[in-house]
């Protein structure tokens, strides 16, 4: 079955995020002075063939460990679109 998934890659808590800080400083300039703790990550969409959503998740987690995330500074989460696997 073909499963669609989204992988979110975020900097771990405590790792400084200069992109988030810069955006946070820019928001007041366009009228939003109420945003705090802005953090920037990556969203990766992909599809895999797998016999079950559990197997799809396992494959994608392996991809994260090997390539999609750097475990030294990043964490990841995997969301599988269950409605598509049919």
């Amino acid at each position: 079955m073909n499963y669609r998934a989204e992988v979110r890659v975020k900097l771990k808590p405590g790792i400084a995020d200069p992109q988030g800080q810069t955006i946070e400083r820019a928001l007041p300039a366009v009228g939003f002075s109420d945003a705090r703790n802005v953090r920037v990550g990556k969203l990766i969409e992909l599809e895999v063939d797998a016999s079950s959503s559990l197997e799809a998740r396992r494959r994608i987690e392996e991809m994260c460990e090997r390539l999609l995330a750097n475990p030294v500074i990043e964490s990841y989460s995997v969301a599988i679109d269950e409605s598509v696997g049919a």
């Binding site: 400084a16 200069p18 992109q19 810069t22 390539l67 999609l68 750097n70 030294v72 500074i73």
Partner: protein, 224 residues
């Protein structure tokens, strides 16, 4: 016999000619190596030069670490051979797990292209044996992602073992503990953000980079 220096070129590498010229001028025998090769020619030293290997897609160095040549580079270091990663090469070595830690975007999101002063914190490595302890080297940096990070235990271990080889006199990028260059636990692999190859001829404004490259050549000849 001249030390043989293998200079790895990935798609997107752009400092390979500078490294080749600098090592040749200092008495080394450089040879280019394509990233898609699976074996190294007979070399004493491997250089991972600066640039944007594989476009720096996903993360700097993330794709380059899987280039076919990297298994041979790892084997070279494991066998006691010298490996130096400069700028993007340092990022590749961290992603490959051959050096600890990671290089984040610079603090303040600033691309830094300038001359910096570096303090030699350990002059008894194969990369710094021509330097005096505490000597200040003037070498340029040119990067967006040079903000070194590792966990506290790793930092403590590296400090205790003298593996923080170069520190910035004035931190240009937010790097942890002012780190500009580190080596692995066996002292065979060195990564640094500054570009020694751009400071090996007086015409370029400094010859301090030659201190590092000549140290490497001296010690490569001894071990060869």
């Amino acid at each position: 016999m001249n030390a043989r220096v293998g200079i790895i070129t990935f798609p997107g590498t752009n400092c390979e000619q500078d490294c080749e010229r600098a090592f040749a001028a200092l008495g080394g025998a450089p040879v280019r190596v394509w990233h898609g090769d699976t074996t190294l020619p007979d070399v004493d030293v491997v250089v991972l030069p600066g640039g944007f290997a594989h476009g720096d897609y996903l993360r700097t160095g993330a794709l380059a670490r899987f280039s076919p040549i990297m298994d041979a580079v790892r084997a070279h270091a494991d066998a006691g051979g010298t490996v130096i990663g400069i700028c993007n090469g340092f990022q590749v070595l961290c992603e490959a797990g051959m050096l600890p830690g990671a290089l984040r975007k610079n603090a303040g999101l600033k691309f830094r292209c300038k001359w910096v002063e570096l303090k030699v914190e350990n002059a008894s490595t194969r990369f710094t044996s021509r330097a005096g302890a505490g000597q200040i080297l003037r070498i340029p940096i040119n990067h967006f992602e040079g903000n070194y990070y590792c966990d506290e235990d790793t930092l403590e271990t590296m400090r205790a073992d003298g593996r923080v080889i170069l520190r910035y006199v004035q931190n240009p990028n937010g790097s942890l503990d002012d780190i500009a260059g580190i080596c692995n636990s066996s002292g065979t692999v060195f990564g640094l953000m500054p570009h020694p190859e751009r400071a090996c001829e007086a015409l370029l404004g400094s010859i301090d980079g030659a201190v590092i490259f000549e140290s490497i050549l001296d010690n490569a000849r001894v071990s060869a």
